[in-house]
């Protein structure tokens, strides 16, 4: 049974096997209806401030800050003769300040309008929103990591280089590859690094002018074609098949002396492992091309299979997905790229080399015996993320990482099993990897869309799944629970989606199309935002002017 809050009243009796689980709770639903009838976030009991208890309205910094206020105590320097060559700023900048207590309150209130992993289940497919252990935060803040400068003498940062070397060793061992380029700053930057290595290798063979096509399956993340195009490759799509897999014959058909590489995501964005991956790799290599693997979904197979064994030449690893460095509302990420023996010589600078009694840092291409293709970024990459990722790996160990992948896959399949009868699986009810993909066929004739379902999930206290991606499936809903969810959490999530599915099928359209009703904002007008973009705060016009 479910209680008034729609939560299971008895832990042992809940779950997808409970026939009542899908039915929802009438009392709670009626309450929801009453709220909806009020139609406004102000509700039927308006307050003077517009706040609603803990739900506070917070103005912009620019509406509460003052130009003469500062929250940092600094003493004005003694008189001195400036040496700025007469290029001093004469005009005010326009940056209001807040005192420390006001700053604290402003940003705490803003944080309370956000949903994070620590708030609840965050099943955003292909994003791997797993638990972010605070041990990793503590480790990243050790002064020997956070308070060292990238260009201080190498002799004073031996521990930092050791950490990079150790992280590299872990990544190479987990993937069975030859080398790693740590410096890329995020997944897409890692893709760029890998594709640059491939381009450099092709040019080294004298085929730069002729090999300029990159095969990209339609199901690929948008960064793949964008990356290939960025460095002058022509993108040739590989169409999707009805089973969600890339077929070796489709690849072979497009292979030729003009093909530089394939960019294949494995496990793919349909949540499936590519069963023909080894054959595809062989076909690619036989044609003199390279196999770039998008490693965004590595979390499904860490400790279960090694990309190097599958024939991969380059793969980026999103440390902010698989190895749990926090997403931070959109970064910072970190996208190290592991490279095969064929590509290893082309890895960019800088890289760490273990010398006889110390670690060296190779910062200039001219200092390398290899053939580095260049440099991806200033300095050495995302050290703060390296520490967190290594802390994660040390904590899990080889046994824990394997278990984590198995649990991630188990959890996704458990959701699949719990929803297969009510929602539609575009590629049939077969095992998935760490994420399960539904399409919107089950919403046919309900007047409810994938977007509406997502917004109704918000009202139920969940972050929605990835919507409308991959593009090869109509109205895609890509659910990735990760290994961080308990069985009880999954059971409630499944019950909630079952209830939504029943509601949609029973014609309770309003529950969806008007949602969210309970979030800090109702549905936002994205068209308006794009039509006349307002991208910064501007001071309101003085009253006299405004009246004209």
């Amino acid at each position: 049974m479910l209680n008034r809050q729609g939560r299971p009243s008895a832990p042992q009796a809940h779950g997808v096997s409970d026939p009542a689980a899908g039915m929802g709770n009438q009392a709670a639903r009626l309450q929801g209806d009453a709220n909806r009838a009020a139609g406004s976030t102000a509700g039927s009991h308006p307050t003077f401030t517009g706040n609603k208890a803990l739900a506070q309205i917070e103005p912009l910094l620019f509406e509460i800050g003052r130009y003469d206020t500062t929250g940092v105590d600094l003493d004005e320097p003694e008189d001195f003769k400036p040496r700025l060559g007469g290029l001093e700023r004469k005009e005010p900048i326009g940056l209001p300040g807040l005192s420390e207590p006001e700053t604290m309150r402003h940003y705490v209130r803003l944080s309370q309008q956000n949903y994070g992993i620590d708030t609840g289940l965050f099943p955003l497919g292909s994003c791997t929103m797993k638990h972010n252990a605070r041990l990793n935060e503590r480790m990243a803040r050790l002064p020997g990591f956070s308070d060292v400068h990238p260009l201080q003498p190498v002799s004073t940062v031996q521990g930092a280089l050791e950490l990079m070397d150790e992280l590299g060793r872990y990544l190479i061992t987990l993937t069975n590859m030859t080398a790693v380029a740590l410096s890329p700053k995020a997944g897409a930057h890692g893709e760029l690094c890998g594709m640059m290595a491939i381009k450099a290798a092709i040019e080294a063979k004298g085929e730069g002018a002729t090999r300029n096509v990159v095969l990209v399956p339609d199901s690929a993340h948008g960064t793949n074609p964008a990356t290939a195009a960025l460095i002058g490759f022509k993108v040739k799509p590989v169409p999707a098949r009805e089973d969600g897999w890339v077929h070796v014959e489709d690849v072979k058909e497009r292979l030729g002396p003009d093909v530089a590489a394939i960019m294949l995501t494995n496990p793919n964005t349909c949540g499936l492992f590519e069963p023909q991956v080894a054959e595809i790799a062989k076909a690619i290599h036989d044609a003199g091309a390279y196999f770039y693997c998008d490693g965004a979904n590595f979390n499904a197979i860490v400790g279960k299979a090694k990309p190097g064994d599958l024939g991969v030449d380059a793969m980026h690893i999103n440390l902010h997905k698989t190895f749990s460095t926090p997403h931070g509302g959109g970064g910072p990420g970190s996208g190290p790229v592991v490279l095969s023996e064929r590509l290893a010589p082309f890895a960019p600078v800088p890289f760490v080399r273990a010398g006889k009694d110390s670690f060296e840092l190779v910062e200039q291409a001219s200092d390398a015996a290899e053939k580095p293709f260049g440099r991806m970024t200033a300095f050495h990459g995302q050290m703060g993320m390296y520490v967190r990722a290594l802390s994660y790996m040390l904590s899990h160990g080889s046994d824990g990482m394997k278990q984590a992948s198995e649990d991630a896959v188990l959890n996704a399949n458990y959701i699949r099993a719990g929803l297969a009868d009510l929602m539609s699986l575009p590629f049939g009810n077969k095992p998935c990897m760490h994420e399960v993909l539904f399409d919107d066929a089950w919403l046919k004739d309900t007047g409810v869309t994938t977007l509406d379902v997502a917004k109704a999930m918000i009202d139920e206290g969940y972050h929605p799944m990835t919507m409308y991606f991959p593009l090869v499936v109509h109205g895609a809903m890509l659910i990735e629970p990760t290994e961080s969810e308990s069985k009880a959490s999954l059971d409630l999530f499944i019950a909630m989606l079952r209830d939504l599915a029943m509601a949609a099928k029973n014609g309770d359209k309003e529950r969806f199309t008007g949602a969210p009703y309970h979030a800090p904002r109702r549905r936002l007008d994205e068209t308006r935002a794009a039509r006349s973009p307002v991208l910064k705060w501007t001071p309101p016009a003085p009253v006299a002017e405004a009246a004209e």
């Binding site: 910094l61 940056l95 060292v148 003498p153 492992f273 926090p326 200033a378 959890n411 991208l535």
Partner: protein, 446 residues
């Protein structure tokens, strides 16, 4: 394993519900011979205490900036970051959220991004700023590509005062895209004749101020010449605090302003994560890379914020996108915004004056040391010394004496014949004692 909630009983029940006997049946699509039978050859799991011991041991082998007189800069700067900043960015709701794709439950992120964009636009003197790039160097690479799209030309001219790593990033990207790059010779004095390089074939001129040698550059004549020839001026900075005291690049005619925001709110972190600031004029908005946050209203008419103009971006445009960037520097931009809010205009300009004053004081004191010459006419908080000995050697010896003295130019520009030059930075963290220690140690070494 402390991070994994499932018990073996849970696992068995769930496998039964799915209808399989063993979890490996869920991996049936992995070729049998490639599915690993045993855990990979790495150590087993460890408790918190053991992990702390291992990593603390590595950390202890490094010399933190705060523990010594510290004058290292060249693109990353040691500043004091208020405790409030680090507390706030560790709020769960900021730290563990994703890119705000569901704006109704991401107004916290979106509103601070809107504040960030407003602050960056104001600082740079530009009309619009994006929601951040990875760092200043990759932002510079993106700026060059953007200029190529705007001008439909494919040749960039890089000033000899541009940070050599930034120039390397641009050159790497340009070589891969078969675009032309002209790099001026290292310009220690800030006196290069870049104007003569600008003609009708040039897409953009990339000029850093203060430049890597510390010189403060007047961008106005360069902007004027660039505009006469239909080219864009990309103004770069690596020390954002300088904008608290110097004329904004926008007011001098820059078309794109890009730089490193690390100094505000972010630790040194051995090079990353940092936060790239990127701003331009409204007329170039549709060619801009990266995410943008915009204001709108919700169904009840309440103000709210969303990611907008995403038709420029890779997830919509795929191979026609303005950039491949996806994840950027969210949390670092939050740190920037909170620190900037704490400072306000009054605090930022005072911080900038303190930095400049400390650097002037240091330059005066160092120029009194035999074998040391300060080369700069102008500078903000960093300048170039010519030493009587190779700087790399001197820096090592000073490190042995417990002073981290700066960056030898030869580390950034090996083989350029600038081996005796040393870049020295001074910020608000330096004390009279630090300066005295530096001068004393230098006297002994030279």
């Amino acid at each position: 394993m402390r991070y994994l909630p499932l018990s073996d009983t849970d696992r068995s029940e769930m496998l039964a519900r799915i209808g399989v006997k063993h979890v490996d049946e869920l991996f049936a699509d992995v070729p049998k011979n490639l599915l690993l039978k045993e855990p990979v050859d790495l150590p087993r799991r460890k408790g918190e205490l053991d992990v702390e011991r291992i990593l603390s041991r590595m950390s202890a082998k490094n010399i933190p900036a705060s523990s010594v007189p510290f004058f290292v800069g060249a693109g990353a700067y040691k500043h004091h970051v208020p405790a409030t900043v680090d507390h706030l960015i560790q709020r769960s709701e900021f730290l563990t959220s994703y890119t705000p794709y569901q704006p109704e439950i991401a107004q916290g992120t979106l509103q601070y991004l809107f504040e960030f964009q407003t602050q960056v636009a104001a600082l740079t003197g530009m009309e619009v700023a994006n929601a951040s790039m990875y760092d200043g160097s990759t932002g510079t690479g993106e700026a060059v590509l953007m200029a190529h799209r705007v001008t439909k030309r494919r040749k960039a001219v890089l000033s000899g005062g541009l940070h050599p790593h930034y120039a390397d990033v641009v050159r790497t990207l340009s070589e891969m895209s078969s675009d032309d790059v002209v790099t001026m010779a290292p310009d220690v004095a800030g006196a290069e004749d870049i104007l003569s390089q600008i003609d009708d074939s040039v897409s953009c001129v990339v000029v850093q101020s203060p430049d890597v040698f510390g010189n403060v550059r007047d961008l106005k004549p360069i902007a004027d010449k660039a505009h006469q020839h239909g080219a864009l001026l990309i103004a770069v900075f690596t020390e954002v605090v300088s904008l608290g005291l110097l004329k904004s690049p926008g007011s001098m005619g820059a078309d794109i302003v890009v730089g490193e925001g690390q100094s505000i709110g972010n630790a040194l972190n051995f090079g990353g994560p940092y936060v790239g600031l990127f701003a331009t004029q409204s007329k170039f908005l549709r060619q801009m890379p990266g995410r943008l946050c915009g204001e709108t209203v919700d169904a009840d008419g309440n103000r709210g914020f969303v990611l907008t103009l995403s038709t420029r971006e890779q997830h919509i445009r795929r191979d026609k996108a303005t950039s491949n960037i996806c994840t950027n520097s969210g949390l670092c931009s939050l740190a920037f915004t909170i620190h900037m809010t704490l400072l306000g205009e009054a605090g930022l300009s005072r911080l900038a004056r303190i930095n400049h004053a400390n650097a002037v004081k240091l330059a005066d004191q160092l120029s009194g040391v035999k074998g040391v010459e300060v080369l700069n006419e102008t500078f903000f908080n960093e300048f170039t010394l010519r030493l009587a000995k190779p700087a790399a050697e001197v820096v090592e010896r000073l490190a042995e004496k417990g002073v981290l003295a700066g960056v030898p130019v030869s580390r950034l520009l090996p083989g350029a014949g600038l081996d005796n030059l040393l870049l020295v930075a001074s910020t608000e963290v330096n004390t009279d004692d630090d300066r005295a220690a530096f001068c004393a140690a230098l006297k002994e070494v030279l």
